[in-house]
Symmetry: C2
Subunit: 367 residues, 2 copies
């Protein structure tokens, strides 16, 4: 209990129980009592366990790693942890890693190729067993190099080529938005497509465009503008759109934070929501439901993406083959597209939120 010695070792426990470190190791590493009996008598087992417990023994991971050549370490690179979406995905990764006896290192790349490469080197030099990238560029060649070196990795959030990845089905998410906008009678939709190198924004945009086209609504190129996935980027992009005329009657910001920026731009111009312009975000961030005007958005399973990403990497490390995974999103309708009075049919999502329109439209099942 009240130990202040650095750490107990097998040798210490061996001395104390009168056996050799190897026996201690085998006993302590046996999952069941039955399997431990292969290596020691019942009495010895009990004594070893008692001694280990009293010292709070925990194997030295560096020694274990040296011997077994496994570090139980995973490297994670994200564009930026400040970003709620990536932070949530990382939480899922870390949670699953801990459950499986792994630990993770996480760093920002800021979507900068140099930083990304540098961080990868640093992590590899730390002997991580595999990598998770949350910052894949849609058409970048960086990952090719990583793969060639034999490093196992999976992508989360953004997909790229056919590399193993866990993402939201962003194309479907975009479709849901397109269908919703059509259903509320919008015919002139502008889209904030996010960074041009991120599959997330590109797929969401394409999904919306496809759904709108099927409904006879065309989205001309000048209605699609790129920008950063944050409030400032959203505001800037929205200002470019709102300076054109005629004004669109709907804006799909492919990210909730960008949508918040759009709200600011709308207010500056005294445009009302949803009457003048309907606004849709993406990700159903914790903020979306609590904004002054609650935001219609697409819920993506961020936490689950992280968890499954780690599981997929573990499968990969084990030698299994894996298939890219796309999890279905859900549309969450709120007042930024349907004003509370107008929507009598919308069922409330949870009893506690009965005051607001919060209707969930599940993905239609297709992928």
């Amino acid at each position: 209990m009240g130990r202040r010695t650095p750490h107990a070792t097998l040798q210490m426990i061996a001395d104390e129980t009168g056996v050799t470190p190897s026996t201690v190791s085998r006993v302590l590493n046996s999952a069941s009592e039955a399997s431990a009996r292969r290596w020691a008598s019942m009495g010895t087992i009990l004594r070893i366990r008692a001694a280990a417990a009293s010292h709070g023994y925990t194997p030295n991971p560096q020694a274990v790693g040296l011997r077994t050549r496994r570090s139980r370490l995973i490297g994670v690179i994200v564009p930026r942890l400040q970003d709620y979406v990536l932070a949530t995905i990382y939480e899922g990764i870390d949670e699953a890693a801990t459950e499986n006896g792994f630990a993770t290192f996480v760093t920002n790349s800021l979507d900068d190729p140099r930083k990304r490469a540098q961080a990868t080197e640093t992590l590899l030099s730390r002997r991580v067993e595999g990598m998770i990238f949350g910052d894949a560029q849609f058409d970048g060649e960086f990952l090719e190099g990583v793969a060639e070196r034999g490093t196992k990795f999976v992508l989360v959030s953004r997909r790229s080529r056919d590399y193993p990845s866990v993402t939201c089905d962003d194309h479907l998410g975009g479709r849901l938005v397109g269908e919703h906008l059509v259903s509320i009678g919008r015919r002139d939709v502008a889209i904030l497509a996010g960074e041009p190198y991120a599959a997330t924004g590109l797929d969401r945009t394409q999904g919306a465009v496809d759904a709108l086209r099927e409904a006879g609504v065309d989205v001309p190129p000048h209605r699609i503008v790129h920008g950063h996935f944050d409030a400032q980027g959203g505001r800037a992009a929205a200002e470019r759109i709102l300076d054109s005329h005629p004004l669109p009657d709907a804006i799909f910001a492919t990210n909730d934070f960008a949508a918040i920026g759009v709200m600011g731009a709308l207010r500056d111009r005294k445009l009302s929501m949803p009457d003048d312009v309907a606004l849709v975000g993406y990700n159903d961030t914790a903020l979306a439901a609590e904004l002054p005007t609650p935001l219609t958005t697409v819920r993506s399973p961020m936490h689950e993406i992280g968890r499954l990403g780690l599981r997929m990497l573990l499968d990969l490390l084990q030698g299994d083959d894996v298939e890219p995974l796309r999890l279905p999103p859900t549309l969450v309708v709120r007042e930024s597209t349907v004003s509370s009075e107008a929507s009598s049919e919308a069922s409330s999502e949870t009893p506690s939120e009965a005051a607001r329109v919060d209707a969930v439209h599940p993905g239609s099942g297709r992928t």
Copy 2:
């Protein structure tokens, strides 16, 4: 270059250059050429370096750790990485750690004592050299146990007792808010004080109360309400406040996200900002300036807190004594307290933001 063998070792380089691993080690570990000459001839040095470079040699950290008994690993525990503030602080920590050749493990505790204890054990079993806690409970006894075991640690964001910590001077931050509210004529201030166990919210609240009292404005206990530091918590707390009458003419939410929740509650009740109620947040989150109504808030040096927290831990590990550090905050005035027309005197913060009132009032220097 095109290697796919796991990793080069000293032995491989030694074989290749015809010396022993020990010589390779000494040469490679010598910072300067001059000091390397202590161990080998110039020719040997060059051959060793060339071989190491061609193999992309990087020392095995587990072997190094085993031998030197230093892991160059730091454990970080935060309430929740999803929280923008803690994510930003962690970015600072990780940045400084990388610069100093350390790597960090970070986990959420969700402010749950059991998770905190568990996470600490896990990190210690990973042989971290020190810990950084971002989730200290103001009057908790958990840290006492950690200190007794001889584990070095520093606190960030929240302080507790006299443990080494790097925080924002939250009391001063609260004062700035109190003084500002008085200066715009508000006399009935409600405060969302956040979690009752977090020094951050407590200090901010106390600072505001002190400044207001000095100006002759009393803040009665029922005007101070606790709740979670997020939008939902802010909305809930605001609703409690706004159900009372008379209504306050100002609300100080000790966190920007809570302030966003307050905005929703205000809108629900058709209350205007800043006319009916002036609203102030805390932290100057990236969102604050971009909200439909830009938020007056207190800028805290989150990134710097992280960086300095890590440096302080390094000092501690080196055996130095350290003093708790409180970094000064700055008030940022925006339209949630001063409408754009009303403020002709307010100077704009940056040229690019000239459209909005963005006046910065530096901390008055006192601590």
